[in-house]
C-alpha cells in the first residue's frame, strides 16, 4: 500500500509514525511543530493509537516514559523550547533504556527565540542534552521523504538498541511540502520481555528505573550504556557523499543546509571549482572515520562546515579532521536560512 502524496513535512512525519505502528503519541503544541499533533488528532479515529495532548512537554515526555516502559511503540514531537523541557525525561529514558522516538522541529533560539528554522539545537541533540553521560541516536533528515524514512528507521533502531532515537529536523522541513512515497504500514508486534505489563508467575518482577544509588552499581550501568553506544557507533553511522571524486573543497552540512549546500556545490562546479558535499545523516553517531579519510586525501584543501547556527557541528568536523586540514565555518543564526549565493560568495571571498 505504498502511495505517493504531496505532503507537509510535519504531516508526513505523523503519517509515517502511524504506518510504522505507532501505539502512543504524547505531545504539546508548539510552532513550527503543531501540525504533527493536529495530523495525529485528525487521524486518530481511523487507527488504534492513543493520543494525549499533554499539559506540558514535561508531562508529555514522562507519558512517553511510562508508555515505553509498558512495552508500547511511542513517540513525541516538539520544537526547541519544548525539547529543552523534555531533557529531564530523556535523561531518565536513556538510563532506563526505553525505546521511543523524538522529533525536534528546530526553531531559532536561544530563549523564546523565533519560529523560523534553525539548527541551533545540534549540541543539545548530539551531546546528550540532559544530565549524565548518554547519547541519543540522532538522525538528520533533509527532505520530507527522508523524514518519513527516518521515522521508520528510528523506531527500528530504538527497539534494536533499547534506546531513545531522535530526528533533528527544522521548521522549514516541517513546513515545506514535497512529493513523498509512503511505505507500507507495519503490523507492529512488540517483543519486550522486560516491559512492565504485570508480573506473571513465570518471571521475576520487572522494574524500570534509572536509580542505582550505590556508586559501584551506577558505574556498572554507565559501562553498560557506554558499551551500547560503542556498538551503535560501530554499526549505525550513515552519511551521504556528493561529488567528492577529485574534490578540493568539501562542504560539510546536514539537514536543510545540506540541500542548500548541494546547490552551492553545483554552482561551484559550473564555475570550475572542485567542490563537493559530505552530509552526515546520523548526527550521533557522527561519521568521524569517513571525514578523517577524506582529510587524508592530498588534493583536499579544506573543509567548510555550513550550518544554521553559530558553529556547532563544526566542532565534530574538527575532531574528525584532527588537524590534517583547515576547517572553516559559515552559518546564519536566529532563524535565517543562508542562500546558495551568499554561501558561495563567502567561500569565494574568504577561502579560495
Amino acid at each position: 500500500m505504498a502511495e505517493t502524496r504531496f505532503m507537509k513535512g510535519n504531516e508526513a512525519l505523523g503519517e509515517a509514525a502511524i504506518r510504522a505502528g505507532l501505539q502512543g503519541y504524547f505531545g504539546y503544541p508548539i510552532t513550527p511543530q503543531s501540525e504533527v499533533v493536529e495530523y495525529l488528532a485528525l487521524q486518530e479515529p481511523n487507527h488504534n493509537y492513543v493520543l494525549i495532548q499533554a499539559e506540558s512537554e514535561l508531562a508529555a515526555v514522562n507519558m512517553v516514559y511510562g508508555a515505553a516502559a509498558a512495552g508500547a511503540r511511542v513517540m513525541t514531537t516538539t520544537s526547541s523550547p519544548g525539547f529543552s523541557l523534555m531533557q529531564e525525561g530523556i535523561s531518565y529514558i536513556a538510563c532506563s533504556e526505553l525505546p521511543c522516538v523524538f522529533a525536534n522541529i528546530v526553531r531559532g533560539g536561544p530563549g523564546l527565540g523565533t519560529i523560523q528554522p534553525s539548527q541551533s539545537d545540534y549540541f543539545q541533540a548530539t551531546k546528550g542534552g540532559g544530565h549524565g553521560d548518554y547519547h541519543l541516536i540522532v538522525l538528520g533528515p533533509n527532505s520530507v521523504q527522508e523524514t518519513v524514512d527516518h521515522i521508520y528507521l528510528a523506531f527500528e533502531l530504538a527497539d534494536k538498541y533499547r534506546s531513545p532515537v531522535m530526528l533533528l529536523s527544522d521548521g522549514a522541513i516541517g513546513q515545506m511540502m514535497e512529493k513523498v512515497v509512503l511505505p507500507d504500514p507495519i503490523e507492529y508486534k512488540p517483543d519486550k520481555p522486560w516491559a512492565t505489563t504485570g508480573k506473571t508467575p513465570d518471571r521475576e518482577r520487572n522494574i524500570i528505573t534509572s536509580l542505582f544509588i550505590q556508586a559501584e552499581i551506577m558505574e556498572q550501568r554507565n559501562l553498560k550504556l557506554q558499551e551500547k553506544f560503542k556498538k551503535i557507533t560501530e554499526n549505525e553511522v550513515r552519511y551521504e557523499e556528493y561529488k567528492l571524486d577529485d574534490v578540493e573543497y568539501i562542504i560539510v552540512s546536514f539537514g536543510l543546509c545540506s540541500r542548500i549546500s548541494k546547490k552551492v556545490v553545483d554552482q561551484a562546479r559550473e564555475s570550475g571549482i572542485k567542490m563537493g558535499l559530505f552530509r552526515p545523516i546520523t548526527l550521533w553517531p557522527f561519521p568521524t572515520k569517513p571525514i578523517e579519510e577524506l582529510a587524508s586525501i592530498n588534493s583536499v584543501k579544506c573543509f567548510i562546515s555550513v550550518e544554521m547556527n553559530a558553529g556547532q557541528m563544526v566542532e565534530d568536523v574538527k575532531l574528525s579532521v584532527n588537524g590534517k586540514k583547515p576547517v572553516y565555518f559559515y552559518g546564519r543564526t536566529g532563524g535565517i536560512v543562508p542562500t546558495p549565493d551568499e554561501i558561495i560568495n563567502h567561500i569565494k571571498e574568504n577561502l579560495l
Binding site: F6, P32, I115, M176, E178, K179, L256, R259, K263
Partner: protein, 178 residues
C-alpha cells in the same frame, strides 16, 4: 529543466494555494517538486509567500535567492522580490492594486489587472489568483491545464468542488490575457 518560482502577496490573497496547486499539478505530471511557505507571524495579516521549485531532477535547495518567475500581488512583495528575479526571468504583477510598477528592463514584466478582471468578468474577486496562475502556466508551460484541473479536484475540500468551474474560467481568462 528546473523552474524556481515565488508567489508573494498579502495573507488571504491565495498565494500559498497558487503555489500548492502548481506544485501538485507538476507532481501529477511526474516532476520533482518542493513548496516552501513563509510561516509564522507573517501569515497573520502580513505578507505571505511560497517558493515553488519544479524540476525533472531531484531538487537540491528548496530555498533559493533568485527566481525564474515571480508572481507578486502587492506593493511590499514587488519591492522585495523585483530585484531577485533572474536576468531574463519573468515578473507577473497584479496591476489593479500595485500602484508603483516595476522598473527593471532586463526581465520580462507582465502586468495583469487580475483583481479588476475577476471582479468585473467573473463576479468573484477571490479567483484572481487563478487568473495569475493561468497566465504563468501559459507563459512558462510549467504544467498542462488539465493537470491544474486535477490538482484543483484533489486539493480542494469536497464542499468547495462546486467552485471548480469558476476556477477553470479564471485560469482560462488568465491564459487568454497573455
Amino acid at each position: 529543466m528546473l523552474q524556481e518560482m515565488i508567489f508573494a502577496g498579502f495573507g488571504g490573497q491565495g498565494v500559498l494555494s497558487m503555489g500548492t496547486l502548481l506544485a501538485y499539478a507538476a507532481m501529477k505530471e511526474g516532476k520533482e517538486v518542493s513548496w516552501m511557505p513563509s510561516y509564522g507571524p507573517e501569515m497573520r495579516g502580513g505578507t505571505a509567500n511560497c517558493m515553488v521549485n519544479i524540476s525533472d531532477e531531484p531538487i537540491s535547495s528548496p530555498i533559493v535567492s533568485e527566481y525564474d518567475v515571480a508572481v507578486v500581488l502587492n506593493q511590499p512583495s514587488l519591492k522585495k522580490f523585483e530585484s531577485r528575479v533572474k536576468k531574463d526571468g519573468i515578473l507577473i504583477w497584479e496591476s489593479t492594486h500595485i500602484k508603483e510598477p516595476p522598473t527593471r528592463k532586463d526581465i520580462t514584466v507582465i502586468p495583469l489587472p487580475a483583481v479588476e478582471k475577476a471582479t468585473n468578468d467573473l463576479k468573484n474577486v477571490k479567483v484572481m489568483n487563478m487568473l495569475l496562475l493561468g497566465a504563468l502556466v501559459k507563459l512558462k508551460n510549467t504544467v498542462k491545464k488539465e493537470s491544474l484541473m486535477i490538482a484543483l479536484k484533489d486539493t480542494l475540500p469536497r464542499r468547495h468542488h462546486h467552485l471548480i468551474p469558476l476556477n477553470e474560467q479564471a485560469i482560462n481568462l488568465g491564459m487568454s490575457l497573455v
